[in-house]
């Protein structure tokens, strides 16, 4: 089941001023445990996904961005300023933290409203209503947040992060605990926010969703930045990983032999009628597969690239280390 392709990546806002998020050589260690070491990247408007195994330093990086903790080396700038000491810029950041704790004795409305008021939002009540409808909590505004399920708490956190219409949105696993319908709605929401010129940074473990959210990724492993950019171009950069393609056809043997003979592919395995080929010349393969099949009068029922998806890119980046 391949995800329907994500929208084309936002054109990088070509403003010369400092990018919305600017991290240069940031490191963070707790005692002698290095959580983040020498990470540098710049982000502008649009949606970017931050990926990495557990304990790779994602949450620490997020906390540094919001100024919740200071980097031991390097600098972290949000909208050109340091969120830890610059009071006004904290009004432009919307954070949905990873931990599950909320003000349990407040109702959903009160919880989001307090976020609106402490952000100095003009009319907090309507902003709160709007935020709660965005996250599909309009029907339970008067219920105590403490009695909410994991998914509802997650949406309450999102509403609180959105209520002040921030320019920077930092969401730590925002979709965990949500059901498929809500997840789709949230993904659309992130798209619109990204296209409205906000800088949205999302961490997630569910790669199928990340691929739908956007194709811009930052991959962190053992505290270091492993890769950044569009994950499809990352895949093409990995020449040392040949592409694996599965072909369902009625002439597996003939097609395999022809492709081998024409040196388009390096390896082939045939399993009950379906052909699995490995090739590092993906361009040549793409151009010639149809014509070769036509010559042999062999029909191509399905041609499926097996390791082009985000999960394979992620696996190659993490496991290769």
């Amino acid at each position: 089941m391949s995800p329907q392709p994500p929208p084309p990546p936002q054109p990088q806002a070509a403003n010369h001023t400092a990018s919305m998020i600017d991290v240069s050589n940031a490191s963070k260690s707790f005692g002698n445990v290095v959580a983040v070491s020498d990470v540098s990247f710049q982000l502008n408007a649009g949606v970017t996904a931050l990926l990495g195994p557990n304990g790779a330093g994602k949450s620490t990086l997020f906390r540094m961005l919001c100024g919740l903790t200071t980097p031991t080396a390097g600098t972290v700038k949000v909208l050109g300023r340091d969120a830890r000491h610059d009071t006004p810029v904290r009004g432009k950041i919307g954070l949905s933290p990873q931990q599950d704790a909320l003000f349990d004795r407040l109702t959903a409305f009160e919880f989001v409203e307090i976020a609106a008021k402490t952000h100095g939002v003009k009319n907090p009540t309507s902003a709160t209503k709007h935020a709660l409808t965005l996250v599909d909590l309009a029907t339970v505004t008067e219920k105590n947040v403490g009695s909410f399920s994991k998914g509802m708490r997650q949406r309450a956190k999102l509403a609180a992060a959105l209520v002040n219409d921030p320019e920077i949105l930092i969401l730590d696993e925002p979709l965990s605990g949500l059901d498929p319908v809500q997840r789709n709605r949230m993904i659309e929401l992130f798209h619109t926010l990204g296209s409205q010129g906000k800088c949205v940074l999302i961490s997630s473990h569910i790669l199928d969703e990340v691929a739908r959210i956007g194709s811009e990724v930052l991959v962190i492993a053992q505290g270091r930045l492993a890769a950044s950019g569009d994950y499809r171009s990352l895949r093409t950069l990995m020449e040392d990983q040949p592409h694996v393609i599965q072909i369902t056809t009625n002439g597996a043997r003939e097609l395999g032999a022809a492709l081998l003979q024409k040196e388009i592919i390096e390896g082939v395995t045939i399993e009950d009628g379906s052909l699995s080929v490995t090739t590092s010349k993906i361009d040549a393969f793409g151009r010639s597969i149809a014509s070769i099949a036509r010559e042999l009068d062999v029909s191509l029922i399905e041609v499926t690239p097996m390791d082009d998806d985000l999960e394979s890119v992620f696996r190659y980046l993490i496991e290769r280390r």
């Binding site: 810029v89 904290r90 009004g91 950041i93 003000f103 402490t118 952000h119």
Partner: protein
């Protein structure tokens, strides 16, 4: 981008933290705890021949040195301490509001809940002692001042250590109760020393004590203690590792 005015920030922090502090368990427990001084006040009132002297002694030992500090400890150490422990501090910290208004809001919330739960039972006890109005007024004044001061100290304690209740109890029952009775400089920073000085000053009942400042200095020192502990809390808040 609007930054929120300090007064508004203080009231908002106060409202949120107050709601979080009021739990059924704490309320029932502490109101029951408050009945004890009332019962003892009534007993002493009936029994003792010089109620004023016995009353001042009882109010300063039972009320000012046990009831108020313990209740203040439970609420003030939890107001910011709990938000750091469970991770909700970020919802007050990552806001365009100044740090000191968060401290002031937390201090106000702790006082709003601590004072009624301590001053009221102590005033009733003072009345039951029927040793005249001076004692009742003195009790109210000192209880309120002591309440504010203890809330300040334990608010700071909540952000300094991992389990503030244990350290707070050590402060109340070891530092204030024992150490101050033989080390003069220790008494200089113990709230109970000043609150005792104020109540004895106002009621004219004298206790032979190591350290007896005048009423004026005592009130001034309590205010200094409040200001200093809120100042350190604010610095601590801006330097803290927010979960």
């Amino acid at each position: 981008m609007a930054t929120v005015s300090p007064i508004r920030a203080i009231t908002l922090t106060h409202n949120v933290l107050l709601k979080q502090l009021i739990t059924k368990g704490r309320l029932i427990g502490i109101t029951l705890f408050g009945l004890l001084p009332i019962l003892l006040g009534w007993v002493i009132g009936r029994q003792s021949d010089d109620p004023l002297e016995a009353g001042v002694g009882f109010i300063s030992y039972m009320g000012l040195s046990i009831l108020i500090p313990v209740v203040a400890l439970i609420f003030a150490s939890a107001s910011l301490g709990d938000t750091r422990e469970d991770g909700t501090l970020v919802y007050l910290w990552l806001r365009p509001i100044s740090r000191w208004s968060v401290t002031a809001g937390a201090w106000a919330a702790s006082s709003t809940i601590t004072l009624p739960l301590t001053v009221i039972p102590m005033t009733i006890a003072a009345i039951l002692l029927d040793a005249g109005n001076t004692l009742i007024l003195a009790t109210i004044l000192t209880a309120v001042l002591a309440g504010f001061a203890y809330c300040g100290i334990f608010l700071l304690l909540g952000l300094l250590v991992k389990n503030p209740v244990i350290w707070g109890l050590a402060y109340i029952f070891i530092w204030e109760a024992i150490v101050t009775s033989f080390a003069k400089p220790a008494a200089a920073i113990a709230v109970s020393g000043y609150s005792r000085a104020i109540i004895t000053g106002r009621t004219g009942v004298e206790f032979e004590r190591l350290f007896s400042p005048s009423q004026g200095t005592s009130i001034f020192m309590l205010i200094v203690i409040i200001a200093v502990s809120m100042g350190i809390t604010t610095v601590r808040l801006s330097r803290i590792e927010v979960p």
